[in-house]
Amino acid sequence: MSPETRPKLAVYKFSSCDGCQLAILSLEDELLSLVGEVEIAYFLEARSQTLEGPYDVTLVEGSVSTAEDIERIHKVREQSKYLITIGACATAGGIQALRNWADVGEFVRAVYATPAYINTLEQSTPISAHVAVDFELNGCPINKYQILEVLTALLVGRAPHLPRHSVCLECKRRGTSCVMVLGGIPCLGPLTQAGCGALCPAYNRGCYGCFGPMESPNPDSFAGFLLKNGTPRAELIRMLRGFTGYAEVFRSAGDKLAKTSP
């Protein structure tokens, strides 16, 4: 594609760890062909030169956790024809949404030497709580091949192929025996969307739910079964309130368990 007609791509960071931007940069073999097809117009982690908006496609990493974030996300939205949130923070509020169940002031006092320097909102919220989002890509971090698939699909003009089913299918495809059935390890896999390649169960760990809730989760049955079989309620709540704990399905399941706590 000629430089004049290449779509302009912007990548913005909000409250996040930069892991999703790194996932894009780790597309080592594909990065050169990507910059041949899109103009990297704004991506501070990759290029110091920036181009003015508007942008054709904007990727947003990170959640909204400060008053400045709120202002900035509206400006980003105004400059973007197609806005994609990338990762657990932008899509579900991220691990920093743990504060949503606690007193953020207490956290600040516990963590920072000079709490007065910290100016933050009570809650960490996903981008979609503030502006319209055209597409949400899950993961903590995102899968680099999935972001490539999303961008390819946009360039070609088709829908992206991204699984919405459970992690369990990925476990079975790679030949991992179910850790829940084998060792009674609580695993969020049956509730979580595939996309990571079922990484944690392959190392005998339960799924942490990084890719957010799957298409048709049944958290009541899942939680009821684990409670009945000896998983402590507090552990179950902690499990649900993880990297994507503020996503609606996990949030309401965790809240329900907390509320019905004996």
Binding site: L169, S177, V181, L182, E215, D220
Partner: protein, 374 residues
């Protein structure tokens, strides 16, 4: 003087250690051996070279939603039931590249995938699994639509079956009339006794693999012990399912309240379909490069429990977990018979053991039967 090789349909005894010679004979004949071995606390299927890689001295304890290995008193080689994987892992690979296309001077050039297919020798195939393979053979190799990928893998395989001498609590092959004894469909079939293997010879190729094993004709005593050991597996079986009227029962009860009830428990995670040795549903995924000048098509295992699987033009035809569980169960036990002339269930019990919340299809069918509308 006895002949150098037993004839087909003969039963012989070989020492346990001779199994290694059988393995060696297979490898010399060009087979890649795959069979049961212990990995991460379960008996799975993988490549084998030595008989010591078999789960020697291991048995399994299975229950709805539970599986655990335990030590046997004697160092037996085959003292366990079906594990989480089935032979479809090799015959219908979970991920298979089909072809790639590339645009050249405005024309698309199609390049079929060059997949190397070993000649497999399957070690330790159980009676229910032979039935499952026979079912997939019907699905993929008979009728108008023959699957060349399946056929290429299936046709050259060698099958060393093992007659079950114990059953897991989740087994119900007796109800499905698929076991515990395999009557045919194998090249060799072993029955493990405490001191020896009794081997039924199912084919010329099977006989050939007994070369130099110091085999001896089985005596009536050996055959009697082998038969009794296998019968014990049948007697021990804890689960059952009445099958005579199953299609009618399910078709007449499509609005039974039990479907609502099971939907409150089912996670729609698809584990049952992935561990099922007959479930064959796949998806094809196309991936292109950024310029859309090259693409490839891959076939991957899919499931009727995945929402996108039943998304068709105009919307989703099975949007609820209730509708997807009902689809799976009625297809497996009823419409499969209409479609392929045989039930889709072989009674191996994998879907019961490997359901993370322990849903038991025999219990679901019984619940429908107990309060049948018709």
């Amino acid at each position: 003087m006895k002949p150098s090789l037993p004839r087909v349909a003969a039963s012989v005894v070989v020492s346990k250690a001779s199994l290694q010679k059988v393995f060696d004979n297979m490898r010399v004949s060009g087979f890649s051996l795959v069979g049961p071995t212990v990995r991460e606390g379960a008996i799975v299927l993988d490549e084998l070279t030595q008989m010591s890689e078999l789960p020697v001295g291991w048995s399994d304890l299975q229950a709805p939603g539970g599986y655990r290995l335990e030590r046997t008193r004697e160092p037996q080689y085959f003292a366990y039931s079906c594990g989480p994987q089935s032979w479809k892992k090799y015959l219908l690979p979970a991920r298979l590249k089909l072809f790639s296309v590339e645009k050249e001077n405005g024309n698309w050039r199609v390049q079929p995938a060059q997949n190397l297919v070993p000649r497999y020798a399957f070690i330790g195939v159980r009676a229910c699994e032979l039935s499952a393979i026979a079912i997939q053979d019907r699905v993929f190799m008979t009728g108008e639509f023959r699957d060349p990928h399946y056929a290429r893998r299936r046709e050259p395989i060698f099958i060393l079956a093992v007659q079950c001498t114990q059953s897991a609590s989740t087994c119900f092959c007796v109800s499905m009339k698929t076991g515990p004894r395999a009557a045919g469909g194998f090249d060799l079939a072993l029955t493990e006794l405490p001191d020896t293997f009794v081997v039924e010879v199912g084919s010329e190729a099977g006989s050939e693999m007994l070369r130099d094993t110091a085999w001896a004709p089985a005596t009536a005593f050996d055959l009697g012990r082998a038969t009794q050991a296998c019968q014990r597996a049948g007697r021990e079986m804890q689960r059952q399912m009445r099958t005579d009227d199953l299609p009618g029962l399910l078709y007449n009860n499509l609005e039974h309240p039990r479907w609502d009830e099971v939907a409150t428990r089912c996670l729609s995670c698809a584990n049952c379909t992935q561990v099922c040795p007959t479930c064959f549903c796949v998806n094809v995924e196309d991936h292109s490069n950024l310029k859309a000048t090259a693409a490839e098509r891959t076939r991957v295992w899919d499931s009727c429990f995945a929402l996108d699987f039943s998304h068709v033009h105009g919307g989703n035809i099975r949007p609820t977990i209730r509708s997807r569980y009902r689809q799976w169960l009625t297809h497996k036990l009823a419409s499969w018979i209409d479609q392929f002339g045989v039930s889709g269930c072989v009674g191996c019990g994998r879907c019961i053991t490997w359901c993370p919340v322990g849903i038991d299809l025999t219990e679901e069918v019984q619940a429908i039967r107990d309060k049948a509308i018709k």
